[in-house]
Symmetry: D4
Subunit: 239 residues, 8 copies
């Protein structure tokens, strides 16, 4: 099968939406991923792949020797634009000074929520935001969150990642005046119902300013945070 | 119908469980409530009725002129024991010095959760506990809870009442070393699903020490808090 | 009961979060609403009440003769700040030139979604955003949405309000480069399950940039849109 | 066990319903599948098997050397009627000119929905319909669907296959005057709940003309589309 | 408010989809319904309103003195086209000879399902189909359905309406070679969950040819049956 | 409308299933109920109506002056067979010596479950079983059930009626060697979800011999208990 | 660990409930199963084990060389009573003439439901009932069920096993005058939700006489059918 | 990554909540578990790890040669405090005389619930409670529970562990005057829905004194029972 038999790549998406089409890796063969990625790189100089399984990751890294791949968040990208975002580890990518505008904070409640938080952070970073990652600030020790109040209040957009009861989003939203994008995670067991408890908790936040994305959707939250942090109309020279 | 046609009152319950059978008012006629209550008062000198509808309350107050009835929590009791618990308002009952042992705190997240919190407080009070009620300490302004830390840490048992995301239980449990009995309420709308969101949040609390009762079950939480606060083995002279 | 018996007003919220505490009218008595509102007006010069029932609305309008009340979205406010937002109808408030910064678009799928859309629009407007409302652009006639492409692409933040399958959010998000705050509504019947179908549709949006608030939570969406549209760091003189 | 111990083949189904009994492969042993298929071929000259696992497929292909088997949609058939439908790939079968009447379009939202779409297309094709397959026309880039408007408007029946929010069915139904059979797929994660989000979206379609089959039920949709496309009463010479 | 403030009528829908926009009465004021209906009648000579509440019905009948209104199915229409469909009762409308093409059967399982069946029958009838209604043929007395086998097998399209376990759709589909559009109804109690049991039963039909619409959506099923019964390509002269 | 327009009475049901068709009163007009009842009485000399609303009951009692109607279980019947079952109260009917064979026990957990238990008891009684009713033997005072062990062990069939956690069925089934038909009731609040908790508890009974009917379906349980108690093959002279 | 550390075998169960305690194999180690089985055989001369995994089955067959084990229904038993029930295959056990009283029919809708039907049949057979098994009589070809009407009407108790929409139970119950014990199975996919669709369909049966057991609980249904078929009071000489 | 990259250990938790932070093993790498455990042991002399997978357990036992690890409940601890709790088996730990105060009873309904019961028992024991474990006292043989009445009535706190219908908690609570902490387990199949049936049963307990923790959360219940059994204010010398 050729690419046209299974995909109609949306090359105008960058024009309309500010970033090229992103490849959702799940349910695609390694060949499909590489072929679609090649087309996108050719048009846009940059491609992002999420939910990449092991085989897909191997094929991707072999096809593109400048690929950046991160195992925990199952995310890869190639950046061949001017001043590219790059790095060998999540920390390196977040510290990379190029194309880093504004101030996004990604906070997560527990160590187990880290992969989703990294997906959010890397997405926002590749799209152009400066990003800081604050791990393990769950509500069971509220002082751990309060220790970061100034950092949180200085941010332009915040992503709050949490499983179980998902209370982190409400806690943070009560402290700041910027939008909080909440990501429920499937961390938990029993009546967490693979993230439903956190999802409902976040949807019912009694604190203002919280909106929610799908369970484990770090990518989506990262993109929204980037849009909030780097609005078209406030950028020096944008499309 | 006589009482025997519809009820088999469990007169040994006080002996086994520490307090006489309590009348669940819902689905009973005013006549049934008054007849069952008369029997229980005769045996035990004291009766508690919960979920009392308007007609039932009128009949109850007419039948027992020393009845204490509270409209918001839909709860009534008659206490003819020595040193009875009594009062015209929730505050008066909670301030009544007789039969008040130990230290139970009932905290609720919002003004709308107050009826359930009052049900919990009055129940524990009637059973023998000293009770303090702290309203409106939701997570959206976390400092409001933190202002009460010492009071919370001094308690022997805590009841945390909250709707919406129900995060109050986790927040408090992270601050204290006594059991926290969490009561989800049906306060909220949309995806709160009449209390399911709060219920799930509380069941998935990442803080230790939290157990949960049914949605809006202030009575149950009050009884458990009383049992924790006034254990049989630690009372001066108990049954 | 005095205010302190049932509420602890969070007077620092404007300082922390950019707008005074908002009164959630459901489950509060008319007296409570008026007393809390008085306190907030005294401190902040402005108060917003949502989900106001008929009795509460009557009491509110009687207590504050400069109250603006809107029946369809069950929302009221008093604005005594300099250059207040005011008007007799939703259209007048949205057209009021004072304190109107930036550009928020609120779009709704059907006529039945209008009350929620109005709640979102009035909220964002009172908080300081310029707001346009586009009704009845559901997906069954996709050209109706496409007719507004330029308007949508010019906005700084978009609120998409829809019941039933809730596809409007995805449709719009595929056309723009700003965040889309999606509000599922309880409009529909049968397997719409009071808004669950729309909620799930929006959470699973295949288009980037969509985050979701609770079912029928127009207020929440309006506040988030305002935060995106008028970021602290981009305002001429902010707190 | 003989066939009679576990099955009662319905040889009159073709007479009553227009096509022989179809074998649902799941939960049947390879031997059972081959034996039942042999009986059906003997009676009808044609058999279709759906949801065929690897072992079953191997046994089927070994038993019938003219078997057509397709791995992605896990479907196989043998056609020994006059002018049989046949082909080595999905494309070849769809292009096969024999027994191809009318005009069915099967459209799917994303590359991951392709297996279900192929199941629908092959089913309708084997039953006698001419079928065209349009992949990857999801709502995130609405122009991709609009590019096919004429093709859609020319069809006699349309199958719309989509996971996640399942909005494709509504989008197409708003453009055409023929029935749209919607197939929700289990593509997605988190709050897609294995296809529930798409199922609910399609059931609540605000566009007229949409009916829905079970999640991932491409076979069922293909059969219905064939019935709509080739009605008994409009066929040249039918039973 | 003028019509433009709350509605954007889709006057091209008849052109695209074969019938003018239908008014969903729920959640609209009597004034809105009458104004929208006037516009549609003016353009198309015909309007259909579903889910019409008492007040809306009164206003509609007062505004259009040739209105046909049916209380049980809460449906009304005005038909000013040439050879209009009309009648004082459901039976009269179904017997009206004008614009009656083909053969649609609407069968329902019990007397309580009748309103939904009538909605389906009237919708298909107004759109141009000849329709017969078969009541009370539930599965508890299977002979009642079998008595109608010939009538069912002669139809071009069948609507099967049932609550509770919803087995009627499977039973009929096993007897015929035309599409069966299944309408689950909310008839039942307890674990029928307002129609979910019937909905699931119909989605999981083991008989081929069944597709499903929303719970109680007689209108949707009627429209689909009409589209199957009177296909554009088989009509003598169509739009 | 005549009866034939809305109903096809199954007069052969007594022949096939041992008792005439029973009228489900919900969703039928008083006229329909009376007309259908007249036909059934004419054929069978006996009719049973369940879920009868107030208006329907008034019409029924007016139409048949020998009607027996019971308000709590919303059930009525007319019995004009030889040796009819009759009585002014539930107790009288159960004590009526005619047509009383075998031994059915109906036990219920609480006073609020009584209406459902009465529906079961009256149904089995009218159909021909001797029935005893044991109220208020919930698990919170297990001795109340154990006091009835001999009575339970002597029965030929048992109906266990309970709401909330529904544990009564398991408790009884562990004590006897006859089938226990469990009826979950909608008694409870919060997480009882209108009977789902009791339904699930009963379906998951760890004690053998428990089968379950729909929530609040006392009628169904009574009929099954009658069938178990008075089997066709063990009756002196049956059809 | 000794048996007492993990189990308290209920040796009085045969006395109370008519058959010795049955071992639920799931979640027990092979050693535990063999040890518990040994104790039960020693006391009662007979043991039944359900839901036996491969390892458990191997250990069981090795420990008891007269064990009867059936792979498809994952069930094993040892019968050392006088006139034992025995056989090498399901058919042989059902045909075994010893201890076979009365007449139970187990019918299942499809070939995939066979394992659950066999579990029911073997259970009832071991307990003392004569059992006939009728496979593959699903509703899609209603004549297949009707061909067995006489056999069904002659039975003393019927077990109806079905997945998907589970309509078989209603169909059969409409034809007979004995209790129908319905077993929903997890056969199906998508919106069958692992048996929920069949469970709900059966609970909402519009035909009288249907009660329901847990999903896939063939054992429970077999035991109940045996109790109905061989009532204590109708047996020649019983315990 | 260093510990600070993924965790912020809450060293003040023992001070606030009475016991050091407990490590939730799921979703953490063996290295992370060992590193975090080392830090906690260093500060507190004691660490507890729950939900430890095989690899994590191996690494833990290798890192700490005085580790106590129990495979069934997947729990490990190191205790280097004065008079440490220790043992090679669950029984040995429970029999260990050091740091054993008060009286906690952990009862479970079946053998399959044992792992969760052991998690509860070991947790309470390590924290300082004397604990007795009573297995296999399910409701199907109620005498098994009643045989332990004195033991239950002597306890200071009770943990009731049960799957399926979860009735054990209600049964026990009706017999005692101390709090009963109920743990629903995922033991069961079909409509047990991985523990939901037991969870709902326990939440709806008609007996007073029952509170509930998450499904399979033996750890949480053990901690709460310890807090009830050894209250701060009743201990000889506490922190």
């Amino acid at each position: 099968m050729s690419v046209d038999d299974y995909a109609q790549i949306d090359f105008e998406r960058e024009q309309r939406c500010g970033f090229p089409e992103v490849i959702y890796g799940e349910g695609k063969t390694p060949e499909q991923i590489v072929e679609i990625a090649s087309s996108i790189i050719e048009h846009h100089g940059c491609v992002l792949v999420t939910r990449l399984a092991d085989e897909g990751a191997a094929a991707f890294c072999q096809a593109f020797d400048d690929a950046c791949y991160f195992e925990l968040p199952r995310l890869a990208f190639v950046d061949r634009r001017e001043d590219p975002v790059t790095g060998q580890s999540v920390a390196e990518v977040l510290d990379c000074p190029d194309r880093a505008e504004g101030d996004v904070v990604v906070a997560c409640a527990g160590t187990s929520d880290l992969p989703v938080a990294q997906e959010a952070a890397l997405t926002a970073r590749l799209m152009g935001s400066r990003v800081r990652l604050i791990p393990d600030v769950g509500i069971a020790g509220v002082h751990r969150t309060l220790d970061h109040v100034e950092e949180l209040q200085a941010a332009r957009a915040i992503v709050a990642v949490a499983g179980m009861e998902g209370a982190l989003a409400s806690l943070i939203a009560g402290l700041v005046d910027v939008p909080v994008v909440a990501v429920p995670t499937s961390v938990g067991y029993g009546a967490s119902f693979d993230g439903i408890s956190a999802l409902l908790g976040m949807l019912n936040s009694c604190a203002g300013g919280v909106s929610v994305v799908n369970i484990d959707n770090g990518f989506g939250a990262g993109q929204i945070a980037d849009r909030i942090n780097r609005p078209r109309w406030a950028r020096p020279e944008t499309d």
